[in-house]
Symmetry: C2
Subunit: 445 residues, 2 copies
């Protein structure tokens, strides 16, 4: 049975109010797959199915934000409040932030006091910080407990925590004294005191730490969760590895799109984003880059005489100029990614510039040989000389520009990933035109 057949049967069952049959057909599905199914159904059917799902809050949290808002609009207020009440605290705050003010105001009175307070707290943190992705449901222990009591306590806490595989030992002021894994607890003697067992050097992050930093720490130390503290040192939440994976993927997408000159500060789906939004994300750089190209044009205009007397030069213009842009894109891409993964730091720049010059000379040399042969056959040995020298110069300039731009952008407070391939290409193009035509005017006239 194909997926489309299945959807048809499911939708048919829902249309005829055969809930049992519908539930039976998806009983082997995982929550995220059920969420996918919901997005394929009509809003009424989707709502009907969701209402009867055993793990509805969990499924609901996997829906894309726009689907959540759509469902929130049509659902009875009490059902919505129930589902939102069952969600984990971080996902609950995410949904809440996506609702419009009217929906928020309708929802709040239907929630329990504790949930209201939690939403207020979690949705107060800035997007992109640890606070905005953390969960306030984590297991805590007191320092004087014995192992067997700790396990008992974790059993009690389990239904209300995201994970019981790590528990944080807090003092009266909610400052972190240590961390214990369930593995340690299971392996330890029952009567042992947990403050002899716990690890006391606990990695933490502040609520206002950049989410990217948090994700990197979790990945670097292979953590299951990172505890988050406020500026007074009080524990306020945890970020779990699965949220860190999502953040890492988002950040990679953001950098990826930036390198393609698409402004990607917020999530963007080419499949479902409104046309106007896609337009907005792209038009800035396109128009901005026109000025880069204008520089090339001005360079060409300046050497109009040289060109007019040697039209063969125009033939090689795209090739030479393009090679500089391509070499530059390579350099900036390598650099932006190495900075993002932490493979290089800004202090390495000077060393890297030396290495890059060597690579550029090798690349430029190879290209110069190739292009001078072409030049010799289409022009003469003087043209070949102009081309060889220009190619060396242009590739070298391109590489150095590509390597330096991310650093310069960072120095002036911009994201190094804004050194997009098109931006580097534009700058290298303009430089290339001038280098080429300058060398040509020197040698040929």
């Amino acid at each position: 049975m194909s997926y489309n057949n299945f959807l048809y049967l499911l939708s048919d069952a829902l249309k005829n109010n055969h809930i049992e049959l519908a539930l039976e057909s998806i009983k082997t599905f995982k929550a995220v797959d059920i969420a996918d199914v919901l997005t394929q159904l009509s809003i009424d059917q989707s709502q009907l199915l969701l209402k009867h799902l055993p793990e509805r809050a969990y499924v609901f949290s996997y829906l894309p934000p726009n689907e959540q808002v759509k469902l929130a609009k049509v659902m009875p207020r009490n059902t919505l409040a129930e589902i939102i009440g069952e969600m984990s605290s971080d996902k609950r705050a995410d949904v809440f932030k996506c609702l419009d003010e009217e929906q928020q105001n309708a929802l709040l009175p239907a929630l329990a006091q504790a949930e209201r307070e939690d939403i207020r707290q979690l949705s107060s943190y800035m997007e992109g910080t640890a606070g905005a992705i953390m969960s306030s449901e984590y297991a805590t222990l007191k320092p004087q407990m014995m192992v067997k009591d700790a396990i008992k306590m974790l059993r009690l806490e389990a239904p209300d925590t995201e994970t019981i595989y790590f528990a944080y030992v807090l003092d009266e002021a909610r400052k972190i004294l240590g961390v214990l894994s369930l593995k340690q607890l299971i392996l330890a003697a029952e009567e042992q005191n947990i403050n002899e067992l716990m690890v006391t050097d606990v990695l933490t992050a502040y609520v206002d730490t950049d989410q990217d930093e948090v994700a990197k720490t979790i990945a670097r130390y292979d953590l299951l969760a990172l505890p988050i503290i406020d500026r007074q040192g009080m524990m306020v939440g945890i970020v779990t590895y699965d949220d860190a994976m999502d953040v890492a993927s988002e950040e990679a997408t953001e950098d990826f799109l930036k390198v393609g000159a698409v402004n990607a500060s917020t999530k963007l789906s080419i499949k479902s984003a409104p046309i106007l939004q896609l337009y907005q994300k792209r038009v800035f750089w396109l128009v901005f880059l026109v000025f880069g190209s204008l520089l090339s044009g001005i360079g060409i205009a300046h050497y109009e005489d040289v060109i007019a007397q040697n039209l063969v030069l125009v033939f090689f213009l795209p090739l030479l100029v393009g090679s500089g842009g391509n070499a530059g894109s390579q350099s900036s891409t390598l650099m932006v990614r190495a900075l993002a993964t932490g493979d290089v730091q800004f202090k390495d720049w000077f060393n890297l510039l030396g290495r890059e010059s060597l690579v550029a000379l090798c690349l430029g040399g190879t290209m110069a040989v190739a292009v001078s042969l072409l030049g010799y056959f289409r022009g003469d040995e003087m043209v070949a000389l102009v081309l060889a020298l220009s190619m060396m110069g242009i590739v070298l300039m391109g590489c150095l520009i590509g390597m330096s731009l991310p650093f310069i952008l960072n120095k002036v407070g911009l994201d190094p990933a804004s050194a997009s391939a098109p931006l580097v290409t534009s700058i290298c193009d303009a430089t290339g035109v001038i280098v080429y035509l300058f060398i040509a005017s020197m040698i040929l006239f």
Copy 2:
């Protein structure tokens, strides 16, 4: 104390054989941080410190491959065998694969029989598959156990498994019957039978599944580990979430560099890779793209007369042609990333092409207005008309090429990420030259 001060003191302590002092100075460090420290020390000091570290196998597994090989060369064979014996099975196989044949042959006799067999098995899987990143240390249970026996068994297995948070229930033939989390076990009644408790719909992957697929499954279902089976359905290993995070980061880097026209099938560090390797990774695309640029040159040569009679056209050439390339890079970047994250599938192409055309018309329209104003001031209203029409045509072509190239590459069996910004730019440039000069020759002559 700065990091450099610290390194100086540590190195001094090691030089004078003050091991206690050296160990004291790094006692709060996590394994990955100690690995970083080791790479900063001389090989002798690094070896000395490593030998005395309490978690030396764990630290060793965090070293970059080239450092591992360097240390393996100078270490006494027995120490090396001890360290490698203590490592987790997947990391052990990774190190083994990096050693040269002589080192491998020297090492093997010093290892225990079980470790040898494990290495032979794990290093037989192709790079890039689940088999190559999986670990053979996982917790297993038998179906007829009671909860309390299962917990006892996990206690026994704990020292030899990567995680005890998930245990797989296997039948006699090592086929997976179900999976249980330690959380479920802790919460269940002691006398309950585990085959009533276990989850029977277990997600798995084959040993020869692409590592990227495995990482995506782990991220999609928020798993801690994914069991790996062979083609006969026998369980042979697990891939854990931390390995999945590393894979996701590697794959993102690979795609990122490809978009910058850097051939990135293997790991590449701009900081430490040999100059020649960097050269090799880049020269292919640079030379290949020359042919793309040659097409532009041929286009220009074909319209030499048009240009000669209207040199003002050359002034706008980089601007128009560049805009097409930039718009095309944006489209291909959006598409390549959306394909990589799974946001779009290849079947969506036709729909996306429609959406992209609308976006392209908006973008082209905006750019056409801008450029025709420029054209009017520098030329006349006919030039303005040529520029406006060309800009619309070029941006539209650019977007459609950028959107389609990843699909076409995939159809002919290539990686869609090879649709790099420079490749798209080259193709759009050539197309742009022809569109521009064709329109100019039609209108102006």
